[in-house]
Every structure is written in C-alpha cells, then in structure tokens.
C-alpha cells in the first residue's frame, strides 16, 4: 500500500462517522440539557421508557447498548428529577421495573416531538433514496 496516493483522514469512515455523529448530536443535546438538565444517557433512558413502556434497567442496557453503570446513574438522576419511579419485582427481587411518572411523560412527549422534527429537518436535505441507503449502511455498521 502506497502512502503517496491520496488518502485523506476524511476518507477514513470511522473518522467521518464520528464527525457526523458529534455534529448531529450537539444541537439536540443542547435542547434537553438546557430545558431539562439531562445528560445524553438520561435522554436515552427516558426515550426507551416513553416509547416502549415500562421496562427493567437491563433491558435498556441491551437495547440502547449502554453500560449498566451509565444506566444506573442515569436512572438515579431521572428519579431525583422525579421523571421516573422504580418498582421492585416481587418474583425476582434483584430486578426493578422502571416507569415514567406523569412529569416524565410530559417531558418525553415534548422531547419526542422535538426529536422527530429535528430529524426530519436534518433528513430533508437528502432524497428518499439517499435516506434509505444512509440508514441501511449505518444499521449494518452499527450491527443493529
């Protein structure tokens, strides 16, 4: 492999991916941070509970691919904000079911809509074909 031919850092997919990911996250991150004082993991946990209903922390770890310590801390933070409540499972007392409170539901509804229009606006620059292929490629790379 020759070094003399053209190969820019931007040709290196992981680099470009990170750049795009950072750029796209930043704007939305500012919203939930300023409005509700949430961190990224907190937003992800909130999204899962809001979109898919009550579930255990472990399920969120698996689905969102977040480490259990991050989820544990995010849950504690969301609980402190009274956005969610825990309920210990009687059958298996290691587990606890997490569910959004009314306040948490309201926050989710707000951010969910914001996220959708944010996403729509971002994708508006591309053709349907481009969107489809972008999603296909990203899913494959992410392994989901």
């Amino acid at each position: 492999m020759q070094h003399s031919d053209e190969y820019d850092l931007r040709d290196f997919t992981p680099y470009l991916l990170n750049l795009a990911a950072e750029t796209s996250s930043l704007a939305f991150q500012k919203i939930y941070r300023a409005k509700y004082g949430m961190l990224r993991t907190e937003w992800r946990v909130l999204f899962h509970l809001g979109r898919y209903g009550p579930m255990r922390a472990k399920t969120i770890c698996d689905r969102a691919r977040v480490h259990k310590t991050k989820v544990s801390r995010a849950v504690a933070a969301l609980e402190a904000k009274r956005f969610l409540a825990r309920q210990q499972d009687d059958e298996d007392r290691r587990q606890e079911t997490l569910r959004l409170t009314k306040r948490g539901d309201a926050v989710f509804a707000d951010l969910y809509d914001t996220a959708r229009s944010f996403d729509a606006q971002m994708m508006a620059e591309f053709t349907p074909d481009e969107r489809r292929i972008l999603r296909h490629c990203l899913s494959k790379i992410a392994g989901v």
Copy 2:
C-alpha cells in the same frame, strides 16, 4: 405529530449515527491503544502530521476539529512517547512546529496501513453506489 405511529429510536438519525460511530471506532481504537498506548486524539494528531507533514497545533485543531486543550494534551503525550518533536518558530515565538520523529513516522506508517485496510474491509460490505452516498450524506451532516 402522533406518538402512536411507528417511530423507533433507531429512526432517529443522531442516535443511529452515534451507534455506528462508536461501533466502528472501537475496533480500531483497540489496535492503537494496545500497540502504542495512544488515545484517540493522539492518533488523530499523529495522522495529521504523518499524512500532511509538519504543522502547528492550531492547524491540527482547525483541520481535525479538535479543541486546543485536547490537542495540547495529545501533543504532550506524543512528545513523551518520543513520537514527535516541537520546534519553536523564530518569527513568532508563540507558535511551534510539530513534526514526527523517526519513531513517530514508523508508528504512523504502521497505523496508516492498518487504517486503510480496516476501512476497506468495512466498506467491502457495500456497493460503490452505497459507499458514495454514505460518504455524501456523512460529509453533509458533518459540514465538511
């Protein structure tokens, strides 16, 4: 906007982007970390110096879109590993030119090749059209 219709977290582009970025970075990160004890910013600085020749820290900040404190620390770390050397500019003594040492060059050559084949392998799953569109979309989102 209805919540009842289908909208998965994976339909939210920033989320999918982050997932793909993390996944794709992780494997390569392990390589330069295990082999040379480098962090991501260090690898980026090394790449810039190896690929584009000696330059100042500020130039790397601008090109790689990394904050100056991160670059500052990465440069210090690379200097400690004797991968690069600094040379103060006589004309403007605030600035210093960074250049790779012989050892740094060797490390770059190794990682550069590894990166290229890593990338090629990753892109092998896609058709040329898909690759082109993926890159087009990512560049646009990243604003580069």
